[in-house]
Structure formats: structure tokens, C-alpha cells
Subunit: 402 residues, 2 copies
């Protein structure tokens, strides 16, 4: 974590990945984040993966460093408490992250009646507010039809990384920072909506894939071959797999040399009248090229391949399992300063990450665990809304807070 945003106070009413990760990124750069949950937990409170006794590792990963307030928002008094927290005064306050629907008591319009300079960052599914999740957006955009190989026949292949959720969370944090900067200069608040579907669609636009679909049609399935240049998985003599990539001319010449394939590749180029220094030709002629590399890499053990690739500055990686990577790969060690081993609400102790960015001019501050549900209800109501102990006691007695 870093202290940059410690003058900001963000209130979050959100579930799953995109909204909560947006607020998590803010928290890990120092913002005070208050997460409001229903009593007993929101829709994501039990989301898998879970510990042996059913506590969500997902939830406690996404809520790190936030304060937790539990309110019964099913009753008018509870809804009013949430609105009061979101619109409480303070120069750096009035920042709201949510994935609740645009209508209802958490609409920007209703909230801005209490605090006109409120900034609402609202993650949506579809642009019109209809629900969508990473997996439905991805299916709608056709990515599962170009994932996998012939082996998958007529079946789509879902991705396992919730890519659009993760991009949306980071992008929403960026958009909120831009809106907050604008508010500092003009005093103007506003609602910022970030639909998962628009994030996915713009990403495909930014990388040329929409233009390709419009002009060339649908991309076929290319298995593990990297589109438009040289790259694929290869098996080693000892049954391991490596991903090898050569996008630039230099990566290509380094790879060919590392495998002693200069003569064979030159002969093939001559035979095909091809120029493999052009990345596109390496892709076009991949079916002719791959067997050379299958044979060369297939003759090496992983250790031998590693030695050659590292000596030749080849762009590659072995295919590891996640657990093997964490246990053995020093580049992925869960070590300080990025990770700290903490006790979590599940009762488990394990390393938890701080901010992915390293700010070299500023020391990191300790990573903080996720709260227990409602851990800060009393503290936050006293501090932000100046409620008396008596009043807080009454709210507990009425079952409005926990």
C-alpha cells in the first residue's frame, strides 16, 4: 500500500470483482474505503474459492484494507444511513463506488440531492444497466469461439481469467481519479458509468479486433498459435511444455539461433519464397515452420531448453501450474515488499498483495487484511456521522446495523 490518496474517503456498495477491485485499488493507494454490506453479507460474501470451513478467500482478497459497515438496507432507516454515509461532508469525501442499479435510492440523482458534488463510479453489466457478468459478455463477444483448438470441435471455450471484470475495475479506478481531479478544479461532481460490455468492446476496438471483424470477418480458431507473428506451445523431450514467442525481428533471430535452426529456416524461406523477418510471414507460414521447432525443442529437456533460451535472450516461459509457480519460480515469489503474510478473516494466514505498481519515490505502507463483516460499523457511524453511543445502541437494538 501507499499513502497517496489518504485525504480521500470512498464509500463502496458493490459485489463481485469489478466494483470491489476498483475500490481496492483506491484503498491500496491510501484512500479510506468504507464498504457497506447488508447484515449477514452481500451477494459475494460466500463466493468461491472458499476455505475448508467455507469462508470466502475471494471476498477477503477483494476487501483488503477496507472498513466494513453492515446495515439493513431493506428498511427506510437503513437506507437513510447508507445515503448519509455516501453523502457525508468533507473535501475528499463524496466518492461512491457501486454496481447497484442506476434506479432507486442509490441513484446518482437521489444521492446528489444531498451532496451536489458527489462523484459516483458505477459499474454496469450492459450499457443500459441490464445485468451481465464477465462470462456472459465474453460469450456475447465471440471470444470463446476463437479460444482452444480443433480438439474443441464445435464447442466454445470459456476463459478462466475474469479479464473484463479485472480491466473494468482498474479502468473505473482511473476514471474516478480523473473525475476527482476535475472536481478539485471545478467543484463539479458527476456520475461515471463503466459498463463491462463497453470496456470489452473498446478494448477490442483499441487492439484492432473490431476493425478486423468488420473488414475481414471472424477470426478462426488458431489453437495456441499467437496471432500474427510466431508463437505457440512446444513439448520438450521430458514431457514439459514451453510457450515460445517471437514478435520482433530480434526475438525471431535470437530464437532461430538458440535452436541452431538458421540453415533449416533459411532453406524453408527459400523454398516458400518467404521472408521470415516479417512477423506476418512467420504467421502465414506457421504450419511449415512449426515442425522445425517441434523437432528442435522436442529434442531438448526443459533444462536444456532453458539454458539455450536464457543464453539467447529468447522470449519464452515454461507452462507451470499455479502452485508450482508459487513454490518454485523466484519471479513469482509471494515476498516483500509486494506481498505480506497476514492473518485473514477466514482464520488463515497467507501472503496478500499490495498495489501492483511500485512507486520508487515513496515507501510502501503495510498491506492490511480485509475486515470482518461489520467490524467498523460503530466506529464509522461515530466518526463520519457523529452518532452518539446511545444512538448507535438504538440502531443495534432495532437490528438496523450489525
Amino acid at each position: 500500500m501507499y499513502p497517496f490518496l489518504s485525504d480521500l474517503r470512498v464509500v463502496e456498495c458493490a459485489s463481485f470483482i469489478a466494483g470491489p477491485s476498483c475500490a481496492l485499488h483506491l484503498a491500496q493507494l491510501g484512500a479510506q474505503v468504507i464498504r457497506i454490506d447488508p447484515i449477514g453479507g452481500g451477494m459475494d460474501f460466500n463466493r468461491w474459492p472458499v476455505s475448508a470451513d467455507g469462508r470466502s478467500l475471494y471476498w477477503e482478497g477483494l476487501q483488503k484494507g477496507k472498513r466494513s459497515v453492515a446495515i439493513d438496507m431493506g428498511r427506510p432507516e437503513g437506507r437513510q444511513l447508507a445515503v448519509d454515509l455516501i453523502t457525508a461532508p468533507g473535501a475528499g469525501a463524496g466518492l461512491f463506488v457501486t454496481n447497484y442499479p442506476q434506479q432507486g435510492f442509490l441513484s446518482h440523482e437521489a444521492l446528489a440531492a444531498h451532496r451536489p458534488d458527489l462523484i459516483t463510479a458505477r459499474v454496469l453489466g450492459w450499457r443500459d444497466g441490464a445485468p451481465a457478468v464477465d462470462y456472459t459478455v465474453n460469450a456475447a463477444l465471440g471470444m470463446p469461439w476463437i479460444t482452444g483448438s480443433d480438439r474443441n470441435g464445435e464447442e466454445p471455450v470459456n476463459h478462466v481469467v475474469p479479464a473484463w471484470d479485472l480491466v473494468t475495475g482498474a479502468y473505473a479506478a482511473f476514471a474516478l481519479m480523473a473525475a476527482e481531479r476535475h472536481r478539485l478544479r471545478t467543484g463539479q461532481g458527476q456520475e461515471v458509468t463503466v459498463p463491462l460490455s463497453d470496456v470489452a468492446l473498446t478494448c477490442l476496438g483499441h487492439t484492432g479486433q473490431l476493425a478486423e471483424a468488420l473488414t475481414t470477418g471472424d477470426r478462426p480458431r488458431y489453437g495456441n498459435a499467437l496471432f500474427g507473428a510466431f508463437g505457440r506451445d512446444f513439448a520438450t523431450a521430458d514431457g514439459q511444455r514451453v510457450m515460445v514467442v517471437a514478435i520482433t525481428a530480434r526475438q525471431w533471430s535470437g530464437l532461430v539461433k538458440a535452436l541452431d535452426l538458421q540453415a533449416a529456416v533459411a532453406a524453408l524461406a527459400s523454398q516458400l519464397h518467404a521472408d521470415f523477418t516479417e512477423e506476418g510471414q512467420r504467421f502465414t507460414h506457421r504450419q511449415a515452420l512449426f515442425p522445425l521447432f517441434d523437432k528442435a525443442i522436442g529434442a531438448l529437456t526443459l533444462a536444456q531448453a532453458r539454458e539455450r533460451f536464457e543464453a539467447g535472450s529468447v522470449l519464452w516461459s515454461s507452462y507451470q501450474t499455479l502452485r508450482t509457480a508459487l513454490d518454485t519460480d523466484p519471479r513469482l515469489a509471494l515476498a516483500a515488499p509486494l506481498f505480506e503474510t497476514l492473518g485473514h478473516p477466514s482464520g488463515l494466514h497467507y501472503p496478500a498483495p499490495g498495489a501492483a505498481a511500485s512507486f520508487h519515490g515513496t515507501p510502501r505502507v503495510p498491506v492490511q487484511r480485509a475486515p470482518h463483516l461489520g467490524e467498523h460499523t460503530d466506529q464509522v457511524l461515530a466518526e463520519v456521522l457523529s452518532l452518539s453511543p446511545t444512538r448507535i445502541g438504538q440502531l443495534h437494538d432495532a437490528g438496523l446495523i450489525a
Copy 2:
């Protein structure tokens, strides 16, 4: 695009997706972005997808709204020009986005000697600066072993969405905004490094996957089944596919009701002593549940399924191809205000996206096309470095700029 960041000037020396998309996000919220390329184009200038005559749709997607300066950075005079542009004075200037190595003439230390409050946002592959790309980081982290199904046997399945690149680009834009906010308050610049591998690792940490791997071991392949709740692809009577998801209790009851499966699901729950209102039990017993849904959905055409799902507020999508989606799905229409049809450097006209976020208090300004390579060299050198026409002519004659 939006005008929020128009007082900021960013210089970019970067290739591929993460660094250029970081600067693109800044440009689309109004920052003036100057992209410096080698004469003839950088490593990504011909990256696929390409037009019929070989112009990169990828490059022109990622450089939208930037100004292009072409400099021979292989010579000391060219390197000095780049350094001068990066460190030029101005309150909102001194922002540098790059994926060049940390050593050399574009090191933060060397640059900060000319402008101490410089902010450098540097995208790295591995944390130590060693090269990596999306596909090698993903292989190292084991995601390809849990993508795909039994059909893929012992083969890894690469993802096709460059997820870690895209998250890194958005997250780096967020981190740069935080650093710029810090500079506004303290005058202090700094280098911010954002390694692809740390972005991927922290994302897996934030969503509980690292804790899962450390405590439970590696996650097996679950095919298209959504981990930890109910979800999978299903075939319809007319040979279409739908992705159906029920994470929350409400989504589950809605789905069961939409397919008239209440009695069958209740009977199964009773037989298995299961409580399907718990998301985890829907996952644990998925092999018993899926046949009920295979049969129910398999009896419906896509149109019939759509009718039932929409009436029942089911969370679902059909699996479309990208082109079909763009042609027929109104939720993914490439229409104003998010998209505008423009002429691009390739000579093609097609719709290009602005910012994924919609700021409801501020009108969008027009989306701008990518520059031609070197289109703004003279203009930028005159404007930012106050070079005279004579001097600019000399630099052209010497082949230092183009």
C-alpha cells in the same frame, strides 16, 4: 473523448498493448499525448491484425488521438531530442509512459537529472525488468492448464484476450494519475513501475486464487463450468449455444423457474441431501444438475430460450461470433456516442471507440484517429522545444527526424 486532462502533456515511448493503452486512456480523457517512434516505426508498427495492404489496425487502434514524432534514437542527437521532449518544462508536462528498459538513456534517473519532478510510468515484463509478454506470463501462472476441457487432454490452452496487458494498461493509467495528484501537492516526481507479472499475480491474489492454490493446491480443469456456483454453456434444440449463470440465490431461483425445473431440482436436492440455495452446493453437485438443464435447454430453440430467460430475468448470453455480435446485437452496436466512424491511417473508414467510461456531467468530444507516423514531428518540435524552422530543416536533412 473527454476534456478533463487537457492541461496534461504525456510523452510516450512504448510498444504493443500495455504502455500504449495506458497513454491512450489518458489521451481519451483529454491529455495531450506525444508518441515518439523510431523513423519507420517501432516494434509494433506492423503488428497484426492488418488491412489488406498490410497496414496495422492494431497500431492505429492503440494510437488514437496521439501526436506522432519520428526520431532516429540510434544516434546521440536523436536521443537528446527525445530526452528534451520528455523533460520539457510546463506545469502539466513531465509525464512519461514507456516500456523501454530501466537502464540507458531513458532511465528515470537520467531523465530526472533534467527535470526532477518527472513522473515515469514504466511497464515491465517481469519485476526485475526481464522481458515478458501476456502469453508468457499467463503460461508461467498456470492459467492455460485450467482453461479448456478434458478434450484438451494434456495440452495447455492459451487465452486469446491479452488480459494481463489490458489490465496493466488501465492500472498504469490509474497509478500515473495517483502519482500526478501527489506531484500537484508535493512537487515530487517519481518512477512508477508496473510489471505485467505483478499485475497478474496481484489480480490472482485479490480474487483468492493464490490463497486457494496455497491451501488447496492447483485448481483442476472444469471445462466451461463456472467455478464455485452454477454456470456452463448449453446447447439449444437448433444447435446454438448459451452461457447460463446463476451465482446468486435469486439468479438460481429465476433460472429454475424459467425452465420449469422446480420439481426436478427439488427432487434432486432431496435425493442428494443438498441445499441448492447455496452457490457452492450448486457447483459441488454440478454433474447431477447439468443433465436437467441440458435436457430443458436442449428442448428449446434459441428464440424460445431467449423468451423464457428474458421473461425470467435470467443471467445469460448466447455465444455469438464477434462479427455476428457487431452486426446484430443492439447492446454491442458500434454507435454514437461511444463510437464514431472515422478515416484511419490505413485508409479504411470504420467505427472507433472513445473512452469506455461515460461521464454524465460532461459532453464527449470527438474521437480522434491515430496519426500518420511522424505527422506531428515538426509541429511538436516547434511547439514544445521552440525549434526554429531552420533547425527543424537541418534535423530533417541529417535524417534525425522524419
